[in-house]
Structure formats: C-alpha cells, structure tokens
Amino acid sequence: MEDRGSQQMRNLLAAVFLGIFSYFLIHSMFNFDIIPGTSYIYNLKGPLIAPNMVTVVLFDWRAYDTLGEAFILITAVFTTGILFGRGVLGGDVSQKDTTPVRPPTVVQKIFSAPLVFIIVALGLVLTLGGHITPGGGFQGGSVIATAFFLSVVVFGFKHNVFSISHHNLERLEGIGALIYLCLGLVGLAVSGYYLYNVGANIYPLGVGETLQELLKYPDSTNAGIIPYLNIGIALKVLSGFCTIATLLMGAEKK
C-alpha cells in the first residue's frame, strides 16, 4: 500500500517537472532566432569540392564526425551480437534458426525478385552519385538493406536472393569501416592531418601528383576521396542493418 503511495507521489513529481520543462522548452522554441554562421562559409567554399553541400560537409569538412557515427552503428551491431550469444563471457551460445520457412507463392516470386533488383540498382545509383545528387552512402546502404529485408521475408534466410552468410556480412562491415579508417590514415601520412581530402587537395599541402591522381575519383567534379568514403559507408550501413535484422529475426519465440 505504501509502495503504491510512493509510486503515485513520484509520478506526480515527474508530471510537475515535465510540465515546467515543457513550458520553458516551448517558450524558447517561439524565441529561437537563427544565424547562418559556419554553414554560410561551408556553402561559400563547398562547391570547390563537389556540388552536393550536405555530402561535402559530411565527408570533407566534418568527415571525422561521420567516422564516429559509422562506429556507433558498428557498436550497435556488436552489441546485438553479444545479446544473442556471440562473444559472451564463457564461450559463445549458438542460436537455433527459428525463422519459419514457408515456400514463397508464385505471385511473391514473380514480383519480389525483380523488385529486389530494382531496389538494389537504386541503392547503387544513390551511393555512387552521392556527391552530385541527393543521396550518399547512408541512403544507398539502407536502400540495399531494405532489399535484403524484402528478400529474406519472402524467400527465408537460407534461400535469399543475396545468398550471403553471417560471416561474410561481418567481413563486409569490417571492410567498409577499414576503407574509411585507412583513407583517413593516408591523409595523415602524406599531409599530417587525419582525413585530409588527398584527391581534391584544396589546400596544397605537399601531396604528390601521382597520389593525388590515384585517389581522385574519375569525374568532372573535384570530389577527391568523397566517393570512396561513400562506398565504405554504404558497405558498412548495408551490412550493419542486415546483421541486426537477421539477429533479431533469429531470436527464439516463446
């Protein structure tokens, strides 16, 4: 009885605090004035690198934030893995695959396989053209992950269109992250700054001509290493979401 009383008391207190907090939050939202600040300078100089400003900010001006964000996804994937038994202390616990395997109906077969291919093609376009049109590594990767989702739902994990194993998904993720990390290290090695955009070389920092040509994406824009970083991110996002989805699907239902 006393327990319920204290519970109600706590809820009341929480409600009062929430009310006061909401008042101040909404009040400040009405008074919020914006000044452009750094964004203005990014817009002023960004077109020197590539046409899509958001991609330029993500992969050049603030590429290091994007690295951190990639690692959040990796951390989440590892954590979900640990949750379902991979790498817990005292040896791995393997899970039975309990996904119900239903043979797909004819309609599903006819419609889903081409749809999967179209979605994958869209993902590739979004990834590779990320620095010119809206899109980029995240978008492309998650579009392809959606296609994977669809094919797993229709055909089951064993017989899905991609026919890729857990182990290879993991490797793919590692490769995506290592592409990003190592391109950053190249910048550190030749110019002394981590994640320097070696291919574009907008602050001439003693980068050799050959290296610059090598790392420059063959394209009329001056994007440098941005498309390669996009590809790395796409691989990582794709395999990250696929791994999480398969892990959650593989959980036992009680």
């Binding site: 899509n52 400003m53 603030r62 010119i132 980029g136 995240f138």
Partner: protein, 130 residues
C-alpha cells in the same frame, strides 16, 4: 502566413514531439512503447536541426550548373540562396545514431521478454525498485 511562420511552428512541433517522447518514457507501461519514446525524442531533435537549417524562400543546398559557371572564385550567389547545410549533415548523423540505439534496445526487449514472459515495466523491474 509566410515561410517564417512555417519555421516557428515547425520548431514548436519539434518541442511538442520531444515532450510526447519524454512522456512515453516516463509514464508508459510497455517496454516497446518506451523504446518508441526514445525514437520520438531523436526525431524531435532532428526536426529542430532541420528547421534551423531551413531558409524561407531558399533553395536546396545543391549547386546547379548555372550558379556554378557564373561564380568567380567563391560562390557568393549560391551561399546567399542556399539553405544551411551544416545542420542537415548533423541530422544525417543523428538518424543513424537513433536507429542504432533503437536496434540495441529492441534486442534487449526481446531478451527481457524471453526471461520474464512479459513486456510490463512493473513486472520486470519489480525487485530493484529501492
């Protein structure tokens, strides 16, 4: 009514969403709804950032051929028209962060359900209310 009004009310929408999310986390009984509350908080913050990058009457921050060719040196004309790109980039980062947290929380929900056969907070967190 004009574009500036849209901006103000969009901020208010974001503030309301933040509060709805907080309410869900504090008062909802079901674990999955608490997780949804976390997601709503993330979305609310995204909306704040997007709206603070919005420029009434501006253009999408992708430079077209005409503006590119007309510029000499720096891209003054483009920068005066374009929406602000930095908050948009931050939002892209936050969306993936939100999705990752959500995935881990959903996994934990499944695990806790397997253990307690319930999604109710009072059942699961009964003994460590101290």
């Amino acid at each position: 009514m004009n574009g500036a009004d849209v901006q103000v009310w969009s901020f208010v929408t974001a503030g309301l969403m933040f509060i709805v999310g907080l309410y869900a986390i504090v008062f909802m009984e079901n674990l999955i709804k608490k997780v949804i509350g976390v997601m709503l908080i993330g979305d609310a913050v995204n909306l704040v950032l997007i709206t603070s990058g919005f420029k009434p009457g501006g253009i999408v921050p992708i430079i077209g051929e005409e503006l590119y060719n007309n510029a000499s040196g720096l891209f003054q004309g483009f920068a005066d028209q374009a929406a602000y790109s930095l908050p948009f980039a931050l939002v892209l980062t936050n969306i993936v962060i939100g999705a990752s947290t959500l995935a881990v929380l959903l996994g934990l929900t499944i695990k806790l359900y397997q253990r307690y056969n319930s999604l109710s907070v009072t059942t699961i967190f009964k003994e460590d209310e101290s």
